[in-house]
């Protein structure tokens, strides 16, 4: 009984994860500018891959510790990489599309020469 419940719970989790991975890729393909794409492609795919990994861990006996470790690792590293890409491309001069009404970062007088932090 417990095996059946855990197994189908894992299958449902994998289905949710695959669906969110697809939504992330659709957002990557459809959204208008870099920062919107980055948001879709990081949040949705993080949830998708965490859900997939924990679902696989529930489906097989003994795989749960490693898959939880994989999920925690992805939860830690995926926002860091997306933050690094967003910061770097804003400093490299990629502009948000005109629908982004308050561009708070433009008021902050950033140093766009790229040498602001090394001194």
């Amino acid at each position: 009984m417990l095996n059946v419940v855990l197994g189908w719970l894992g299958a449902i989790l994998i289905s949710i994860g695959v669906f969110f991975l697809f939504l992330g890729a659709l957002g990557i393909f459809r959204l208008p500018d870099l920062f919107n794409r980055l948001q879709a492609g990081t949040k949705a795919t993080t949830l998708g891959v965490i859900s997939t990994s924990i679902g696989v861990g529930l489906l097989v006996k003994g795989w749960l510790p490693f898959s939880v470790a994989l999920a925690v690792f992805l939860l830690m590293t995926n926002p860091i990489s997306s933050h690094a890409v967003a910061r770097a491309s804003y400093r490299a001069g990629v502009k948000p599309y005109p629908g982004t009404s308050p561009d708070e970062c433009a008021k902050r007088n950033l140093d766009f020469s790229g040498e602001g932090e090394e001194k």
Partner: protein
Amino acid sequence: MRIEIPTILWAIWFIVISTATILATLRAVIGPTNSDRVVGLDTWTTITTGFWVILALFFFQFVLLSVAMVYAILSFLGVLVIARYLERGL
């Protein structure tokens, strides 16, 4: 495995995740700037990590979970290096 997964469910998972990979690859190819290409590549590698996990279940090999872990680590390092290159140059 605790249950037998129906074949139609395997087919749905593989088709949906392959479509997602193709969409991310298209963004990585046609992206207007280099940052768009990096974002497409990042999403592509995350989707492929999920695909490795499902493949580990499909072939029932625990080793493929380790492959997914190494893939995630290498994708993280690669995206960080490319972001640093975009920001300051090498």
